[in-house]
Structure formats: C-alpha cells, structure tokens
C-alpha cells in the first residue's frame, strides 16, 4: 500500500530533496525541541499583551455590568454577538479540513489539519468567552443548562434555538478537542521518544503511553474515520443553529430561511481565510515551505472563491427576496442596510467578501503569497462586517421610529474584541511552541506516493508518458519551494 504510486499528473504534496521519515520528524520538531526564536517571542509578547487587555476588559465588564458596553434598549446585541459569530465561523474551517477533506480523501489536508484544528479550538474558546461575558450575570451561566426547578422557576425551553446553541457549541468544542487530541497522540509519542529528563516525563504523560502497535493504529484509524463522519454533520449543524438564533425571531432582516446555508458558507469562507492568514506566516517563520506548499495555498484560495461566491449569491438573494416579498418592514430593513446610516458597513462587507475574493480567479494572484495573505485579512474584515451589518442594522431601526438609534461602541467593546484576538494568538503561539504543528505521522504517509522526490524518480526512470511528465513539470512552476533547474536535465 505504501508503495502505491499516484498519477504523475497530480501535483506533489511535499517538496524538497532527500525527504526521509527522519527528516520530516526533524523538520517539524524544530520549534518544539529548540529554544524559541526572536520572531516567536515578539509575536508572543504582543499577543499576550492583547490577552491581558482582554482579561482587564472582561473583568471590568463583570465588575460594572453590561452597561459598560455601548448597548442601548434598541440595540441589545452588537459587538458581543458579532464577535461570537465571527469566532465560531472561523472555527469551522479546522473541522472542515480535518473531517470533510478526510472523508473525501483529500491528502493535502495531512499537512494543514493539525494547525487548522488547533485554530478551531482556540476560536471556539474565544467565541465561548463572548457568550459567558454577554450574560450579564456570568456566575449564573449554568442556568442555561437543563437543571431541576430549584435552580429557577422552570426547565430550560427546548423550543428555543438559544438552548440548542448551548448543546451545539459545547458538543462542537468537546468533540473537536478529542478529535484533535487523539490525532496528536502518535506525534506526542514521537517527541517523548526523542526527549530526555523532565521533558520526556511531561510528554510521556501527555502521550497516554502510545506505542504504535498494529492494534493501536487499526483502532486509531477507525476512530479517525468515524469522528470525521460525525463531525461533518456536526459542523454544519453548529452554524445552522447559530443562524437560527436570528432566523427564528421576527426581526426584519433576520427572519429568513436562507440563513442556515448562508451562514455555513460564510463560516467556511472566513475560516479558510483565517487558516490562510495563520499558515502563510507559520510556514515562513517555521520553515515549513516543503510541507505547506503552493498547492495547499492555491487549493485554499479556490475554496475561498467558491464559498465567497456562495455568500455573494446569498446577499443578492436576500435583496431580491426583500423586494419580492412585498413586506414593507423587510424592504425597509434592506433599504436601510444598503443606503441608511450604516451604508459604509454594508458596502465594506460587499467589497471585502464578494468583490475582492474574485481576484483569485487570476492564477498570478492566487499563487502569490503576499496577495493571498492580504486578501485573507480582507476577507476576515469583511466577515466581521457581515455579522455587524446583520445584527446592528436590523436592530437599530426597529418597528417604532421614536426608538431609532445608532450604536456606538465604548472602549470596553473595542478592548474585548482586540483582546480576544490576543487570546487567540497567545494560544496559537503556545501551540506552535509545544506541540507539533504538522501531523507528522500523516505527512509520512505521503513520502512514497505524493512527494516531489518520488515523482522525480519516476520521471528519471523514463517509463512515463512524455506528455504527462511535461504537464507535471510545468505544474511545478508555481511552487516557490521547487527549483525548476533540477528538471532541466531530466
């Protein structure tokens, strides 16, 4: 099985010369087994200052109450739920990469799944902190759980999407966490068997005694496949339920059946953008160019065009249906979004999410690292504005014109949002430092079939169709980690 050669037409998933199993281990564990470099410390310092800002702002909110935020009696949800939905959406790409791409046998997921899943977990942590802090009396958060009547007057209302959300988010977080950690076990065992002293003791505890016997691997693969199978509908259900928090209300602009697919596509869109933002830096700083190749970057950009276009169709459908429905409140809600006092937020959303990602149709742009990185940030900004537009523009002009207001964030709103980004990056940087950022065991599976080295040997042997070999060599021109001169002589 491991000697199975795939079609020469497929682009390689690992590049570089002299790739051996040992070299993969060495390359991936460089940041884990050595002292952190300057870039890591600079990043970590900035991120942890952000995290401290978050701690301060959230503590201030707990101390003074939700009045510390810019909310008013008309706009009861603003930056808090915007931030919550933004973070949950970002989390979705990790599960998509680890679960959906596993079911579809997309082997390029092998080198990005670990860090994308870590991103999922940290993003859901950030989302959950918003939920806790927007509760007003966060110490009574357990009232959202189905507990006996002595804790309140009644059982929780299972007809409400807010209760479904409690179940969805907590299931999503805990299932993602065990999926990620089970996948980490073999790689933690690798670190353990190379370490000495205290480090060995710590990684030994974390490795759960993994030894890589036949039965362990067999069960491991069964577990991975079934977890992927259940995580796929799970990830779709989570953002569906998040969208139902809005769609089941009777607020114009929220009460639409298009919300579930529209939110799920948007979540995957923003999630891949965040994966792109993180991995383009990680690959550079950690020297992972041979494992996270231009093929990975281009594939993710293609997913960004697809999901961005789905989101674009959803925006246009919303506008059309608002007009076509003949419902005046719905019509006004959308007129107000497009041309009301928040027109700039709406058009910022449209530009960042629908127009600028279309640039990825140009091969030059989607295989340019700088352009991919900038556009991924633009998408993240756009998706934040999407949630802001949905939430605030629907609320700020309600059914009663005398209560129409604008929303102005306070410094606490801003500090919690900026701080949550700090929390996210702090966790992500700690992950890069202490755990292998690439799933070594899974990447090792690709060495004999999908690596540039294996394919080069095949070409050198000369038994291949010349046209196919030429097609393959031409496809390598986009790779920044391949030297085309190596192929000149073959």
């Amino acid at each position: 099985m491991s000697s199975h050669h795939e079609s020469i037409l497929r682009e390689p998933l690992i590049t570089g010369e002299n790739i051996t199993y040992a070299k993969i281990t060495e390359d991936v564990l460089v940041p884990v087994e050595n002292k952190a470099n300057k870039a890591w410390w600079i990043g970590f310092t900035i991120a942890s200052l952000g995290a401290l800002l978050w701690v301060f702002a959230v503590s201030y909110t707990f101390w003074t109450g939700i009045g510390a935020w810019g909310l008013n009696k008309t706009v009861g949800w603003a930056w808090d739920i915007t931030g919550f939905v933004w973070w949950v959406g970002i989390g979705h790409a990790g599960t998509l990469i680890s679960a959906v791409l596993l079911l579809f046998r997309q082997n390029w997921r092998n080198s990005i799944n670990r860090s994308a899943e870590a991103m999922t977990i940290f993003a859901v942590i950030c989302a959950a902190t918003y939920i806790i802090s927007h509760m007003g009396r966060p110490w009574l958060f357990y009232w959202a759980l189905p507990l006996p009547n002595q804790f309140g007057s009644l059982w929780v209302n299972f007809n409400s999407p807010l209760v479904w959300d409690v179940f969805a988010i907590s299931t999503y977080f805990s299932v993602s966490l065990i999926f990620w950690y089970t996948g980490l076990l073999p790689d933690i065992a690798t670190i353990r068997d190379r370490a000495t002293g205290l480090r060995r003791k710590i990684y030994s505890t974390l490795s759960f005694g993994w030894n890589g016997s036949v039965k362990t691997w067999q069960r491991f693969e069964a577990v991975s496949l079934i977890l992927a199978g259940v995580s796929t509908p799970l990830v779709l259900s989570v953002h569906t339920i998040v969208s139902m928090d809005f769609a089941t209300s009777v607020i114009p602009g929220w009460h639409t059946t298009i919300f579930p697919p529209y939110f799920v596509a948007g979540a995957i869109f923003s999630g891949f953008a965040m994966v792109q933002t993180l991995l383009l830096i990680t690959r550079k700083v950690m020297n992972f160019e041979n494992y996270i190749t231009m093929f990975h970057i281009e594939s993710m950009n293609k997913i960004i065009i697809v999901t961005g276009s789905i989101v674009g169709v959803a925006y246009l459908t919303e506008l059309f249906i608002a007009w076509y429905s003949g419902a005046e409140y719905e019509q006004y809600a959308f007129l107000n979004r497009v041309s009301g006092p928040y027109w700039w937020a709406y058009w910022c959303m449209m530009t960042c999410n629908v127009i600028s990602p279309q640039l990825f149709w140009f091969k030059k742009i989607r295989t340019s690292i700088a352009a991919s990185w900038i556009l991924s940030i633009v998408v993240n900004i756009g998706m934040w504005f999407e949630r802001f537009v949905i939430i605030v523009t629907s609320l700020h002009r309600d059914y009663l014109p005398s209560s129409w207001v604008m929303f102005y964030p306070t410094w606490v709103d801003v500090a919690i949002f900026v701080g949550s980004i700090g929390v996210f990056f702090t966790l992500f940087l700690l992950f890069l430092r202490f755990l292998p950022a690439i799933a070594m065991a899974e990447v090792k599976l690709l060495v004999k079939s999908s690596s540039e080295q294996a394919k080069k040997e095949l070409i050198a042997k000369g038994n291949l169709n010349k046209e196919h070999a030429k097609f393959y060599v031409d496809s390598l021109s986009k790779y920044d980690s391949v030297n085309p001169a190596d192929y000149a002589k073959i």
Binding site: M1, S2, S3, T20, Y21, A22, T25, L154, W155, N157, F158, N159, P161, W164, F167, A168, S174, V175, I178, F179, T182, L185, P186, A189, T190, R192, D193, R194, S204, T205, L206, S207, F208, G209, W210, N211, G212, S213, V214, K215, T216, W217, Q218, R219, F220, E221, A222, V223, I226, L227, V230, S231, P233, L234, S237, M440, A441, E442, L445, K448
Partner: protein, 178 residues
Amino acid sequence: MSKTKYILGAFADPDEMLLGIDKLQEHNIAIYDVFTPMPIHGIEAKLGIKPSRLPKAAFWFGLTGTCTAFAMIYYMLVFDWPMNIGGKPAFAVPDFVPVLFELTVLFAAFGMVFTFFFKNHLFPGRTPRVMHLRATNDRFIIAINAQEVSDAKKVESLLKDAGAVEVLHNDRKYVSYE
C-alpha cells in the same frame, strides 16, 4: 542466547517490513507485534487481525445518546412541566431534533474514543511500553517472541534478507523503563 526475550527487526522502509512479515510467515515464525510510526495498511490482514468493532460501538453509543436526549426532553417539557407557549403543543418533536442530534454525536464521539483508550490502555501518565525508541520516528519494527523461536539465527537472516537495517536480540521486553 537463551536470555534473549525479544528479537526485533528494524526496517527503514514499510514495504521491506511487509516483505519481512511475509518471509517470517512462510517459515511459520510467529510475530508478536509490529510497531510503526504511521498507519501501514495491509499489516492487519497479514497478521490475521480482525477488523475493529469500534464503528459498531460508535453506532450504539450514538443511539444511546439519541434515546437519552429524547427521554430528557420528553420528561422536562412534556411530562414534568408542560408549558403553554402560544397554545402550541408541548410535545413538539421537530423542536427536539437539534438537541437529539447533538447528543447523538456527543455520545458517539466520546463513547468511541474512551472505548479506544480503554481497550488500548491509553490514559494520561501510563508508562509507555516501547520496544524500540525509533518506532515512533523512522523505524518499522517487527517484534518476535524469542521464547517461541527455536533458531534465532534463522530469524535474523530472514529479517536481514527482507532488508532490515538492524536486528536486535533484547534481554528486556521494553526499553522505555530504563
């Protein structure tokens, strides 16, 4: 030689290791276990290991989750304290679906993973029972119980023929206790 407990053949290439398994089996030499840094398909079939029953276990765990969720919601909303919400029925099955689904997934995932950990004795702090330290890095190890083998030299030559880069005759079963 009688002190040898386990003979280990260390391979640098998974295909050579699979060849090694074939060669040993041709000579009716029992293989104790195989340790690899990554999942190698085909070993289970050669060693005659049955497919895992974990997927079936996952199904039953999932079904337990569905039933638990249904019983919980039915008890709370229909039996214990039915509420009149706009005159709608308390027993509103479509509204139960999201929570039924979430608990199905939760039970299936946790049930299966914990069964896996339990069956393979994986838990935090367990002493790793490792026979070769590079088995988690770049070596594919075939372990043979030396007590069951009459001719250790022959085992060694079979392993070497298949392409083993190193053959060890270990007096101790596990190296990780040292």
